[in-house]
């Protein structure tokens, strides 16, 4: 006798949902590009800058690259004011950067140190950890000011 199928199996819908959900479970961090807001980690006076141009790279800047940024938020008396266009060196990026020995490093936030056109930092202190990729990029001054080299 034909019986109505008992639905004690896993319903079909949940299978599909699983397939769709997986794509967004994994965090995929990308480059620092135009309109990316970064934290400033030196004592130059700025607090937040927005990237307006990545100087190297078609897709955007990565850890250790230089960017041109516009100051969005600044301390009242500091060396830079709001609205100023500055250069910056990315010292922390949420996107992983591979090293030549096969290791990768990534930080929890995006941070930048303001520099002048020649690459010398404007501030006198740098907060937080910095990677030692900066040595290869010849930002030795930032490395010496840093609290901790990751």
């Amino acid at each position: 006798m034909w019986q109505f199928p008992v639905s004690d199996q896993v319903p079909q819908i949940s299978g599909n949902r699983q397939a769709c959900g997986n794509r967004f479970d994994k965090q995929q961090r990308t480059f620092i590009q135009m309109r990316t807001v970064l934290k400033v980690v030196d004592n130059s006076g700025a607090k937040k800058v927005m990237c307006i141009q990545a100087l190297k790279g078609k897709k955007g800047a990565r850890l250790g690259d230089t960017i041109i940024a516009s100051v969005k938020e600044a301390m009242p008396n500091g060396k830079v004011k709001k609205g100023k266009v500055v250069y910056g060196v990315v010292v922390r990026a949420a996107m992983q950067r591979g090293r030549c020995d096969g290791s990768e490093v990534k930080f929890d936030d995006n941070a930048v140190v303001l520099v002048d056109k020649q690459g010398q930092p404007i501030g006198t202190r740098v907060f937080g950890p910095v990677p030692h990729e900066l040595r290869q990029k010849k930002h030795v001054k930032i490395l010496t000011l840093a609290e901790h080299i990751a």
Binding site: R92, Q96, D101, G102, S103, E104, V105, K106, F107, D108, D109, A111, F127, G128, P129, H132, R135, Q136, E147, H148, I149, A150
Partner: protein
């Protein structure tokens, strides 16, 4: 095809295209047969798979007449593998075709036996095992220089790394293993730690020669294989003195 996978030069040359539908076949066959072994100048065996008989009037589409000349270049190491592959290549051909020339196959095998040096039969290394064997060897080689402890997710480890740029001292990295990806020699672990207020995750290849020491300091009970939830939690949970 097998010829593309093997590093030793094992060439398969399609001998002949599909013949047009003409009922007069025997002449073509004999010519084909006679042409078979002559242009080959290599010392190694060449096996030509072909058929000689076609039932007259049957559809030719099933029996695409294609003969292959398999040449193995003189390479004493790969002899065992090459010979194994030759046989493997022969067999599907023979099975696929309706009738095969038994003599030709017999000849090929005899020649192969002669050419092989007289040694007891080694167990054949299958293609799928090669990467596993290579990885195992590489891991053993790296273990000889520096023993690697057994690492699991949730271990709090301390890694001493030699960085070529930082020539003075070994860098020390401490943190909790939040994931371990097994890939033979490129097995990696991801270490998370809060450094100076910012969370840092570093992926280390476990068998890297730059790593001078790995030590498991503590273990935290976790009920997951990947602890990515620590990224959203309080920094206190990822801090290690």
């Amino acid at each position: 095809m097998a010829s593309q996978v093997l590093p030793q030069a094992l060439h398969m040359i399609p001998r002949n295209q599909v013949q047009p539908f003409n009922p007069v076949k025997n002449r073509g066959f004999s010519a084909f047969l006679s042409r078979g072994p002559s242009p080959l100048t290599t010392s190694k065996v060449s096996v030509s798979g072909f058929h000689s008989k076609f039932p007259v009037g049957s559809s030719f589409s099933c029996f695409a007449r294609r003969g292959f000349v398999v040449r193995a270049e003189s390479n004493p190491e790969g002899e065992g593998e090459a010979e194994g592959n030759e046989n493997g290549v022969e067999e599907p051909e023979m099975k696929a075709k309706a009738e095969a020339e038994v003599e030709g196959e017999g000849e090929g095998e005899d020649e192969a036996e002669e050419e092989k040096p007289k040694e007891p039969r080694k167990p054949r290394i299958k293609l799928g095992d090669i990467m596993g064997i290579l990885n195992k060897r590489a891991i053993e080689a790296s273990d000889k220089e520096r023993p690697t402890p057994d690492l699991r997710t949730g271990d709090i480890v301390e890694i001493k790394l030699e960085v070529p740029e930082n020539r003075r001292r070994l860098s020390v990295y401490k943190g909790i293993v939040i994931s371990k990806q097994n890939a033979g020699i490129h097995t990696t672990i991801r270490i998370r730690r809060i450094i100076a207020g910012i969370g840092v995750e570093i992926v280390f290849p476990v068998y890297s020669p730059n790593i001078k020491e790995i030590k498991v300091v503590k273990h935290r009970k976790v009920r997951r294989a990947r602890l990515y939830y620590l990224r959203d939690k309080l920094p206190r949970l990822s801090t290690f003195k």
